[in-house]
């Protein structure tokens, strides 16, 4: 596998002194080529800042970034292969949808016009409407269509579902997957609707308060934690000495989300009369980004 993005000790701080906001702190990770990567996190976690850094739109305070092996800042060789339509993307005042669709191909050599037109139809986008008159969902659709039809070797989708109805969201996920199969490329999808995209994602980076807290393959992640349910005393006895991501209790019943439970551990739990339940990607992320017990520095235990 070839690495497309490599970040090391990447930090971005806005402001100075006591007003300083650490939008991103000491992020180190790598994204491989031709996969769909999920960039997950709560609002304000630093997802957009990270994507702006990776596309050279923002300047890093510290650390290094390599995209296609080079620093992306003001680097045409890198940026020619990148498409990043932000969730809050601004367009020229006088632009109608058709002007976006007319201008985008000039910047993306792999642009597929037929595909773009097909998508416009499927998303029911009014091409003659001014971009600033579009609804939130239609605005998202513009970003989605440019991102998909650009076929850029490195494409970012920044919360592309905002304002889209359930049908349009499913349409985006299905189209992305189908087109990705035909035209493999590296996709980074930022989202907080994790359940909806969990089947799409091959690799997951979870960011919380500017820190990378999970960086793992989606499959490993799904099996990495398990809910242990049973009598409170039995759960407590079982989890003693184990890494617990989250606990909840209702009356005499308790649930603990246990990380890295191997086959022997599972057998032991069953023997103790406890039930095991899978943890969805969404629950896992929620539990690692809200729980006091969350391990902030490590990702998923090996």
């Amino acid at each position: 596998m070839t690495t497309v993005i490599r970040a090391e000790g990447l930090s971005k701080t806005y402001g100075h002194g006591s007003n300083a906001v650490h939008a991103l702190a000491d992020a180190t990770f790598a994204l491989e080529e031709n996969r769909i990567h999920g960039l997950l996190g709560r609002n304000g976690a630093g997802k957009t800042t990270l994507m702006q850094l990776l596309t050279g739109q923002e300047f890093a305070t510290a650390g290094t970034i390599e995209v296609f092996g080079e620093n992306p800042v003001e680097n045409a060789r890198v940026l020619d292969r990148v498409c990043f339509i932000k969730e809050s993307q601004r367009y020229p005042e006088d632009f109608r949808v058709k002007h976006v669709l007319r201008s985008a191909p000039w910047f993306f050599p792999e642009w597929d016009q037929d595909f773009a037109e097909e998508l416009v139809e499927r998303f029911r986008l009014p091409v003659n409407r001014r971009v600033k008159k579009l609804s939130r969902g239609q605005l998202s659709a513009v970003g989605v269509i440019v991102g998909l039809a650009s076929r850029a070797p490195l494409t970012f989708f920044d919360e592309p579902y905002l304002g889209l109805d359930a049908v349009a969201r499913q349409l985006f996920y299905d189209t992305l997957l189908a087109d990705f199969a035909e035209h493999p490329r590296t996709v980074v999808l930022s989202t907080h609707l994790i359940d909806e995209v969990s089947n799409l994602l091959e690799h997951v980076v979870v960011i919380d308060e500017g820190r990378i807290i999970i960086d793992a393959d989606a499959d490993d992640l799904r099996g990495s934690a398990i809910d242990v349910v049973g009598a409170r005393s039995a759960v407590e006895a079982f989890t003693a000495g184990r890494e617990v991501l989250h606990r909840s209790a209702l009356g005499g019943l308790a649930t603990a989300t246990v990380a890295g439970l191997d086959e022997a551990g599972r057998a032991e739990a069953r023997a103790a009369g406890l039930e095991l339940a899978p943890v969805s990607l969404q629950q896992l992320v929620v539990r690692t980004t809200t729980g006091e017990t969350a391990d902030r520095t490590n990702g998923v235990p090996a």
């Binding site: 031709n34 300047f59 498409c83 990043f84 020229p92 109608r96 002007h99 910047f107 792999e110 035209h183």
Partner: protein, 256 residues
């Protein structure tokens, strides 16, 4: 190991990267060409009608007086302000989109400058041609001076006339560009601060000229320069604005 699908397209040349910015900024020609020409035509029609009324109500001897007065109208000045706004909008709103499309700031800045120069050539040619028509038709039949006002007209020939318009367009485009660049880089705070600073400079200059009783010399200098000289000098602030604007954009970040 996944095989990398080789791109069938050669990487864009630096020239192509700049040229697509020109195309982006003029993607809707209604804004850069259509609207300004239509509004200019409307203002011209309105002005012409007023002149016609004036000329219809004065007798032969007074007509020349009235025509001289008309030469101090600012009707055509509107188009220069419009171009300043075009430049502001281009830099402020096309910049974030160009970066989203994977353009470099360098290419954007160069493309914007090229666009402004090209539009200056186009509009200077249109204005010069209109002035030529104006002279040919004896001031549109009413001794009017819409394009050859005292601020822009010259006796030094058509090339000089074209050059005067060109310099003023360049000046207004790049003035718009520098203020938009300040806004893109430092938002409202930066723009307010720089406008205040500019205001202080202007007041200081006026005070200095007034206190040293130099106003007669200033007017003399301006008259001595003539419309051609003044317009040519406008290239100095324009070039400074272009250079400074480029430096500002090189470190600017598109914000939402």
């Amino acid at each position: 190991m996944t095989a990398i699908a080789a791109s069938t397209h050669a990487p864009a040349s630096p020239g192509a990267r700049v040229w697509r910015i020109v195309r982006l900024l003029t993607a809707n020609p209604m804004t850069t060409i259509g609207m300004p020409l239509m509004v200019l035509a409307l203002i011209f029609a309105g002005t012409w009608f007023i002149w016609w009324l004036v000329m219809a109500s004065v007798s032969g001897a007074d007509a020349q007086d009235a025509a001289d007065g008309i030469r101090y109208n600012g009707a055509a000045a509107w188009i220069f302000v419009y171009m300043l706004v075009v430049a502001v909008q281009a830099v402020n709103l096309a910049f974030p989109l160009a970066l989203g499309y994977g353009s470099t700031r360098r290419a954007f800045s160069a493309g914007a400058a090229l666009t402004f120069l090209m539009l200056s050539v186009v509009y200077a040619s249109i204005m010069t041609f209109a002035r030529w028509l104006e002279v040919l038709t004896d001031g549109w039949g009413v001794l009017g001076s819409f394009f050859g006002t005292n601020y822009f007209a010259t006796d030094a020939g058509w090339l000089a006339q074209w050059w005067i318009y060109f310099c003023w367009f360049v000046f207004f485009f790049f003035t718009g560009m520098i203020f938009a660049a300040v806004f893109v880089r430092w938002r409202a705070f930066g723009l307010t601060t720089s406008l205040l600073a500019l205001g202080v400079l202007v007041v200081a200059a006026v005070a200095a000229i007034t206190l040293t009783n130099s106003w007669p010399q200033v007017w003399e200098t301006l008259v001595g320069l003539g419309t051609l000289g003044v317009a040519s000098w406008m290239l100095v602030p324009a070039v400074l604005a272009a250079g400074l604007g480029h430096l500002l954009l090189r470190r600017a970040t598109p914000r939402s």
